[in-house]
Structure formats: structure tokens, C-alpha cells
């Protein structure tokens, strides 16, 4: 007799547990229009918000006079674990002091090799480079992933550095 009772109670309890599960999904089905969590990506591009610390890709800050804070010290290049930064520079005599100084030619950034570890940004003594939030990094050709971060004709400016470090 006990076996029969067990048999039917097992069936009943099993059925109840299934119904409870259906209750959960059913509840969310009824509420679904309010609870949708997926984002309609290309449409909501303008309203997408990222944290200011979000690391998407490296960029170099230029001010209005096309000045940069990078003095080609190459710290970022040494600190990068993957060799994704190449600093191309030459020595040039400073017109005021006459001392020979490093001048940045090209700041080459290989996005294809970058792992977004943020070490270069932390290491930069002049805060010349930063991570931005432009996350759409897909391109049609691999060569487009190699970027030159400094704009043509951009010059190093000590004032720009000082202003930034003050903050």
C-alpha cells in the first residue's frame, strides 16, 4: 500500500514542481514587454552610455592648436606586454635651448595586438595617451588596425602637459 501511495505522491509532487517552474516563466512572459533586457544595438547607438573608465581603444589627446603631450619618451613602448605600441622619433635641437631632444614622428598603435590592459596609460608620465570609449573596432582590412595616433603636424607642448598634470 505504501508503495502505491509513494508512487502517486511522486507523480503529484513531480507535477507540482513542473507547474511551479511554468509559473516562473509564465510570470515573466506576462511581464515581458517591461522586462526586456536586450538592447536594440544599431538603433540605440546614440544613447549608449559607457563608464568613463571603459577601455575600448587607445587614443592621443590633441588640443585646438594641434599640440600633444607626448614627448616620445617610449615608456609606453617598454611597458606594453604585447608590443602593440611603436614610437617612431628623431632627435632635433630645441630652437630655444639648443639642446637635442626626442621629437615624435609617428605614434603607431597596433590595435590587433592590444589586450587593453591599460598599463601604457598608467605608465605615461605626461598623460599623453588615454583609452576612449569607441568600441566599434571592426574593420574590413587588417592593415586598418594599425593606426597612427598623432595627427600630422602635431607638436609636443610642455604647457599642455603642465595644464593636464595640474588637474
Amino acid at each position: 500500500m505504501n508503495a502505491i501511495i509513494n508512487y502517486f505522491s511522486e507523480v503529484l509532487n513531480g507535477g507540482i514542481s513542473l507547474l511551479k517552474g511554468m509559473g516562473i516563466t509564465g510570470k515573466h512572459f506576462v511581464r515581458s514587454p517591461k522586462e526586456i533586457i536586450t538592447q536594440q544595438y544599431p538603433e540605440n547607438k546614440d544613447t549608449l552610455v559607457f563608464g568613463e573608465r571603459f577601455r575600448a581603444q587607445l587614443f592621443m589627446e590633441h588640443n585646438d592648436e594641434n599640440q600633444i603631450r607626448c614627448d616620445a619618451c617610449q615608456t609606453c613602448e617598454t611597458v606594453c606586454p604585447n608590443g602593440s605600441i611603436e614610437v617612431v622619433w628623431h632627435r632635433e635641437a630645441d630652437p630655444e635651448t639648443g639642446k637635442k631632444k626626442k621629437v615624435l614622428d609617428k605614434y603607431v598603435y597596433h590595435l590587433s595586438m592590444c589586450t587593453f590592459c591599460n598599463l601604457c596609460v598608467l605608465a605615461c608620465p605626461t598623460e599623453a595617451i588615454k583609452m576612449n570609449q569607441e568600441f566599434e573596432t571592426a574593420v574590413y582590412d587588417r592593415s586598418e588596425l594599425t593606426k597612427v595616433l598623432n595627427k600630422p603636424g602635431s607638436k609636443f607642448s610642455q604647457d599642455f602637459v603642465d595644464k593636464s598634470l595640474e588637474k
Binding site: 507523480v11 513542473l18 517552474g21 511554468m22 516562473i24 516563466t25 509564465g26 515573466h28 512572459f29 515581458s32 514587454p33 522586462e35 526586456i36 533586457i37 536586450t38 536594440q40
Partner: protein, 359 residues
């Protein structure tokens, strides 16, 4: 209640007055064939988009929303894609069986669709052993699945097909023997039209009370198993077998399997509606004359598809809630639980009918 046989009869008479009877029969066959193929295709398209949309809402998603308003034409686009796709097959498939399997799978639901009453007098093939015919024909589908699994020369496909064979053969037993027979006892006929007409006083689900409700629950469980849907989807078992028996199929051949799965779901629901929920009969509440009269204005086919939709939603609800059973558990469920219970239920139903304890 509008009798659709008047309409079909008028068409028949009009055609007969124009041409000899052989031509009339041929034209009528072609006409019926075209109508059912169209119904088949439309059902497939609608059910797939419905499933995907409902799945989306169960999962905090929107479902497809790119093609057309609310993504309504997504399945149309998918079908076009499948039609245009190359039919790829591996080198060592058994060519003949491999090519013939999708047709087996798709023929079974098409044949069953012929006997289902969609409205008053709206049945393509009104035979007196309708229910028996349904049970017999629905077994053809599994042959197609077994052939597909065997001929694909793929171990995953074979496992899936063998599982499917085991499941469908065992579940047909309690489905036919008990769940459906219980209602046949009540209705006293195997003809689906007669079964519907016998429910004018009230649906069998309510009139047959306890045994009918048990039979209904068992029918829904076995029906889910017959259509290979979650929690009995172990023939496809995405996380175990990849895609199961249709892993090696592509293009329109894959679409055949895919569509027949959804049309099978429709058929299972349609049968449930026909047998338990009064088919195309409107919803009546005894005593509420005004309500009942207003319900009568809604045409039969609308009622039929509405009720079928409810059962289909129930099946989808299962699919998006439950985990999958293992093969031995499925067989245990059938042989140790469903079959004994449904046999007992059959005896109970016979007793109820004998004593006349039917509302």
C-alpha cells in the same frame, strides 16, 4: 452554424455542370492538394515566427525584429534562404534513403491534416475510422526520421534517430490506447466529425470530468513526446548530439524536417482540440443564453484555430521552461507511469460511461 459542405457541394455541382466527372474529380483533387500544401506552408511559417517570438518574450528578449514590422517576415526570408541554399551532403551517405527520408517525414502530417475537421462540414477526407487513420499515419513520420539518421552515416544522427524510434513507438501506445480511446468510449465513434458533433452539449474535457482530465494530461505529455519537443527533444538534443537526425541535411531538405516538426505540433494540438475541446464548436457556458448566442456568431474555423493556438502556446510554454529528459527516463516515464495510469484511466472511463456518470 454555417455548413461548409453546402459551399463545397455548390462548387462540385458547378464543376460537374461544366465537365465530365473524371475531370471534376481530378480538378478537385488538385484543388484540395493545393489548399493543403498552402495551409502546410503557412502553418510552418506562422508557427516558426510564433515560436521564436514567444521564446523571446519568455527570455526577456524581443525575438526576431528586423525583417518587416515586428520581424513578421523573418521566416519568409529564412525560407527563401533555405530554398536558395546548396544541398550539401557527405560523400558516404546512402543516397537513395538520404533523399527519400525528408518526404517520409513531411507526408505523415500532410495526410493527417486531411482528416481533421476545421469547421462544420470542412473535412477533406471524412472517414469513419478517422482516429485510427491518424494513429496509423503518424507512425510513418518516425520511419523518415530513422531513415534520415541511418542514411546520414553520422553517429550522432544515428543515436538521435534510434532515440526517436524508441520514444515514438512507446508513446504511441499510451496516446492511442488510452488517452484517445477514453474519449472514443465517451463519443462512441472513431469518426472525428462525429466526435466533434457529440460535444455539442459540452466539451468532453468537462463532461468526462476526472478520467477525461487525466486522459487530456496524458495526451498532452505523449503529444509533446510524439513531436520531439522539449522535454522530450532528445532526438535533436542540441547540447548532446548537435542536431541529431538531421545534422547532415541542408537547404530545403533540412527545411522539410524543420517544417514537419512544427506542423506536427499543430496536428497534435488540433487533435487535442478536436477530441477534448469540442473542435470548431463555440465556447458555451450552460445557462448563459445571451453569451452562448453571441459566441455562435464567431465562425467555426476561427474557434478551431483559436483553441489550437492555446494548446500550441502550452506546448511552447513547456519548451521554454523544462529541461530535457534522458532516454531511459523517458521510457521509464512511459512504461512505468503513463501506460499503467492511462490503462487504469481507461477502465475508470469505461466504468463512468457504463454508469452514465457523464454530465
Amino acid at each position: 452554424m454555417y455548413d461548409f459542405s453546402k459551399m463545397t457541394g455548390a462548387i462540385h455541382e458547378w464543376l460537374s455542370s461544366l465537365m465530365p466527372s473524371i475531370l471534376v474529380t481530378t480538378i478537385e483533387w488538385v484543388l484540395i492538394g493545393v489548399v493543403f500544401l498552402a495551409l502546410f506552408a503557412i502553418l510552418g511559417l506562422v508557427l516558426v515566427i510564433l515560436e521564436r517570438k514567444i521564446a523571446g518574450f519568455f527570455q526577456f528578449r524581443l525575438g526576431p525584429n528586423r525583417v518587416g514590422p515586428y520581424g513578421m517576415f523573418q521566416t519568409v526570408a529564412d525560407t527563401v534562404k533555405l530554398l536558395l541554399k546548396e544541398l550539401v551532403s557527405t560523400n558516404k551517405v546512402d543516397k537513395f534513403l538520404y533523399n527519400v527520408a525528408p518526404f517520409f517525414v513531411i507526408i505523415a502530417p500532410l495526410m493527417i491534416m486531411a482528416v481533421i475537421p476545421y469547421g462544420f462540414g470542412l473535412t477533406a477526407y471524412d472517414i469513419n475510422v478517422g482516429l485510427l487513420f491518424v494513429m496509423a499515419v503518424s507512425s510513418i513520420g518516425v520511419v523518415g526520421i530513422l531513415l534520415a539518421g541511418w542514411s546520414s552515416n553520422n553517429k550522432y544522427s544515428l543515436i538521435g534517430a534510434m532515440r526517436s524510434g524508441a520514444v515514438i513507438i512507446s508513446y504511441e501506445l499510451s496516446m492511442g490506447l488510452s488517452a484517445l480511446l477514453a474519449i472514443v468510449l465517451l463519443a462512441g465513434s472513431l469518426n472525428l466529425n462525429d466526435i466533434v458533433m457529440s460535444q455539442q452539449a459540452g466539451w468532453w474535457l468537462f463532461r468526462g470530468h476526472i478520467p477525461a482530465i487525466i486522459a487530456f494530461v496524458i495526451y498532452i505529455i505523449t503529444g509533446t513526446a510524439e513531436t520531439n519537443r522539449v522535454p522530450f527533444d532528445l532526438t535533436e538534443a542540441e547540447s548532446e548530439l548537435g542536431a541529431g537526425y538531421h545534422a547532415e541535411y541542408s537547404g530545403i531538405k533540412f527545411a522539410f524536417f524543420f517544417l514537419s516538426e512544427f506542423v506536427n505540433m499543430f496536428i497534435i494540438s488540433a487533435l487535442a482540440v478536436t477530441i477534448f475541446l469540442g473542435g470548431w464548436l463555440p465556447f458555451h457556458i450552460p445557462g448563459w443564453e445571451g453569451f452562448n448566442n453571441s459566441m455562435n456568431y464567431i465562425p467555426g474555423p476561427v474557434w478551431f484555430f483559436l483553441k489550437t493556438g492555446v494548446i500550441i502556446f502550452l506546448l511552447m510554454w513547456f519548451r521554454w521552461t523544462f529541461p530535457r529528459l534522458r532516454i531511459d527516463q523517458i521510457l521509464t516515464l512511459e512504461w512505468k507511469y503513463l501506460l499503467p495510469i492511462s490503462l487504469l484511466n481507461l477502465v475508470l472511463m469505461a466504468f463512468v460511461v457504463m454508469m452514465g456518470w457523464v454530465f
